[in-house]
């Protein structure tokens, strides 16, 4: 605002004294032509100018100095502080009062002008920061922009902290400068409870939560290297405004991030499922042809000689087995990808047990199959296709690992907050050390055994049961044999209203 604005206090007082001296020098030759009353005016003018330019202190000093100089150099007897005419004492008093009041008023005006200017300056800087922030594409650049603003306006430094994926607050940007140590516990405190100033450290640090509507998006720590504290109180509102601007950017960037991640995930999910289905189609087509062609040879009329027919049947069976393995691998790939979409529906367990038995068909016909499902089992919510797969795998294992003619039992049991389904065979059972590891991929009960399989069946079972929030485990039962059990949570079945009347025959 003025060229003297930034001078040190001492310089301003010196300047004021010099101005008074110059006034005296200019007025001295004029004493021949001017009345003393007019000389006083020159001094008053000087005081007004000083108060406008140099502030209150120098103005007050110059008021007293002017009166003294006027008395010494102009009021007779000159060059002495003695006053002959008592009326000049009144002149001194009036001049002094006018000078002080003027000094006070002008200094006030000046103060207001200065603070208006500062305010305008800050508002513009704030506006510019807001504009820059809208263009910020990374948290780093946002942090930079905020830092520059705070540095410019209040010579302070800031640090931004935002939660990472695990919700842990992390500092943004390059490591902090030396001597600017924030306390991560206070950062967390501010994040959880609101702004907080830590005055016990040097330099003192204030923490402002980054709040947007109901969310807190992080924390801004503010401190000044020189250890000043006062600026925190003076700029509290401004710092809050800065924090909320920063919060909006963090939130915007967060949603941009969320959208990007979702897009990438969708793309990779699409890719994965299209690869899987292409693979599935490309492998299944020749397998279908192989199975069918071999099968048509096996059943051809007139029948082939026994040897050739058996070969045809063997080709068919092997192709079927290969197809089963491929199905398992593809299923495991799908389940392992972690994005199984369950088509859960409420349904009785009985139905899926029945369809599994039917699906396995003749491979179970060599065993005595017993099904024990209490009539009062509640409906459960599950993906029928997948649970059918679990049951089929367990039943296939049971028949594979037990001798023909032995019993296989399927039982359902209400176990409080879940329903347990178990498949029990009369085979050799499972060795204790293997009871959990057989659910791992590619682990088989009998290593290198002649029994077909690659050890995916149980891993698939576990993946499916896990996806249903159930459990699966294996144990040996008294009387010999293995028992595989899985549980499905009961949940809250939907309401169901049965119609009352019995109708046919009579209607």
């Amino acid at each position: 605002m003025t060229i003297f604005e930034n001078r040190s206090p001492a310089a301003r007082f010196l300047l004021a004294a010099a101005a008074c001296a110059v006034t005296t020098a200019i007025a001295s030759p004029l004493i021949e032509y001017l009345d003393l009353a007019n000389i006083v005016m020159l001094f008053l003018l000087t005081v007004v100018l000083i108060s406008a330019r140099l502030g209150r202190g120098p103005a007050v000093m110059s008021a007293f100095l002017s009166v003294a100089l006027f008395d010494f150099f102009f009021v007779p007897p000159r060059l002495s502080f003695t006053v002959n005419d008592a009326q000049y004492l009144l002149t001194f008093a009036v001049v002094l009062i006018i000078a002080l009041i003027t000094a006070h008023l002008t200094a006030d005006l000046r103060q207001q002008a200065v603070s208006a200017f500062t305010r305008e300056h800050r508002t513009r800087a704030l506006y510019e920061m807001a504009r820059e922030l809208t263009g910020a594409l990374t948290l780093d650049s946002a942090s930079d922009i905020v830092h520059r603003f705070v540095k410019k306006v209040m010579s302070a430094d800031i640090e931004l902290f935002v939660p990472d994926e695990d919700g842990e607050l992390q500092r943004i940007g390059a490591p902090p400068k030396k001597g600017n140590r924030y306390d991560i516990r206070l950062v967390r405190l501010a994040h959880a409870q609101g702004d907080y100033a830590d005055l016990d450290v040097t330099p003192p640090i204030a923490y402002f939560p980054l709040k947007v509507s109901a969310n807190t998006r992080g924390v801004m720590a503010v401190s000044r290297a020189d250890g000043a504290v006062g600026f925190l109180a003076d700029n509290h509102d401004l710092l809050e405004a800065v924090a909320s601007l920063a919060a909006m950017v963090v939130e915007r960037l967060h949603y941009v991030d969320v959208a990007n991640t979702a897009r990438v995930e969708m793309a990779s999910e699409r890719l994965r499922s299209s690869i899987l289905s292409a693979l599935s189609h490309d492998i299944r087509t020749p397998l279908t042809a192989m199975t069918g062609l071999a099968d048509s040879l096996a059943v051809a009329q007139p029948a082939l000689p026994v040897g050739q027919r058996e070969t045809a049947e063997a080709v068919r069976d092997q192709a079927m087995r290969l197809s089963g393995l491929v199905a398992n691998l593809l299923d495991m790939a799908r389940l392992n990808a972690g994005h199984v979409t369950l088509r859960k529906e409420w349904q009785p367990l009985e139905e899926v047990v029945g369809s599994s038995i039917k699906l396995l068909g003749h491979s179970l016909s060599g065993h005595q199959l017993r099904v024990e499902l209490p009539d009062d089992l509640p409906m459960l919510e599950f993906d029928a296709v997948l649970i059918e797969r679990v049951l089929c795998n367990l039943l296939a294992n049971a028949s594979k690992y037990s001798v023909a003619g032995s019993a296989i039992e399927i039982a359902g049991r209400d176990a409080g907050d879940s329903v347990e389904v178990s498949v029990r065979d009369r085979g050799p059972g499972i060795r204790d050390v293997q009871r959990t590891e057989i659910f791992e991929m590619f682990v088989r009960g009998e290593k290198e055994s002649a029994k077909p399989g690659i050890g995916l069946g149980l891993a698939i079972c576990r993946a499916i049961v896990d996806a249903h929030r159930g459990r699966i485990w294996a144990e040996n039962v008294g009387g010999g044999g293995a028992c595989f059990t899985f549980s499905l949570p009961k949940g809250t079945p939907p309401r169901f209203e049965l119609e009352e009347s019995t109708a046919n025959g009579s209607v």
């Binding site: 899987l276 289905s277 599935s280 189609h281 299944r284 087509t285 020749p286 397998l287 279908t288 042809a289 192989m290 199975t291 069918g292 062609l293 099968d295 048509s296 096996a298 059943v299 051809a300 009329q301 068919r316 192709a319 079927m320 197809s323 199905a327 593809l330 088509r343 529906e345 409420w346 349904q347 009785p348 009985e350 139905e351 899926v352 047990v353 029945g354 369809s355 038995i357 039917k358 699906l359 199959l369 099904v371 499902l373 409906m379 993906d383 029928a384 296709v385 059918e388 079945p493 939907p494 169901f496 049965l498 119609e499 009352e500 009347s501 019995t502 109708a503 046919n504 025959g505 209607v507």
Partner: protein, 229 residues
């Protein structure tokens, strides 16, 4: 089987699959026509007026569901679709669009022939239900609305009865959950699938020897139900 050999069109882009389907059906006494694309298949179907269409869902030139809608706009010919196991949704969409049955790849000749026979045996829809149907130890007299199991009358609720009529009326066909809900509860029904499942369970308890291993009211897991006598 009719006196004249039934005509079957197999629409499938893999020639080796066409080959064995053809061989199996010809052994069964059918006249078989092959088509490698949907458009060729539809053209032949229009010309020949087949008794059965076997349609692969993964054709290169057109969406299988689309082909069925097209076919259904002018023909009631039974359709068996061939699908891979992973194509659950497409299978259901195809059945909803009017396909009668499906075979999951890979399938054996026995399965293929069983489905083919069941559909060829079906009467054209216009002829309606025969008044008497017997399966297992159950006899149904639709004209008198009585059901008899081992000589004893079985009581069904109106919904159970409607469900049974719908299933029996579509013997050999796969009915999706949606189709059954629409048929039994009406097109405006907002009931969910678990209602259907409960009524099916009731029917099985009343009519099947072992409800956990049904022999007539069969579950097509994830798809719907099928009745077989």
């Amino acid at each position: 089987m009719n006196d004249i050999a039934p005509a079957v069109i197999i629409i499938e882009d893999e020639s080796q699959i066409r080959r064995f389907v053809r061989a199996a059906l010809e052994d069964e006494g059918c006249r078989v026509h092959e088509a490698g694309t949907a458009s060729e298949g539809l053209e032949k179907a229009g010309r020949i007026g087949p008794d059965l269409v076997i349609l692969d869902l993964g054709l290169p030139d057109r969406d299988g569901v689309d082909v069925i809608r097209d076919l259904r706009s002018w023909s009631n010919v039974p359709v068996i679709i061939l699908s891979a196991r992973a194509e659950e949704d497409e299978k259901i969409a195809a059945l909803d669009a009017g396909a009668d049955d499906y075979l999951t790849k890979p399938f054996g000749v026995g399965e293929l022939l069983a489905r083919t026979r069941a559909l060829l045996r079906r009467k054209p829809r216009s002829e309606g239900l025969s008044p008497n149907v017997a399966f297992g130890n159950v006899k149904i007299d639709f004209s008198r609305r009585t059901i008899d199991r081992d000589g004893e009358q079985v009581h069904l609720t109106p919904i159970e009865y409607r469900l049974l009529t719908t299933l029996v009326g579509n013997t050999g066909r796969v009915l999706t959950h949606r189709q059954l809900l629409k048929e039994v509860w009406g097109p405006e029904s907002i009931q969910s699938n678990h209602y259907l499942r409960i009524y099916v369970a009731h029917l099985r308890r009343k009519l099947e020897m072992d409800p956990a291993q049904p022999r007539h009211i069969l579950t097509e897991t994830g798809v719907g139900y099928r009745f077989q006598a």
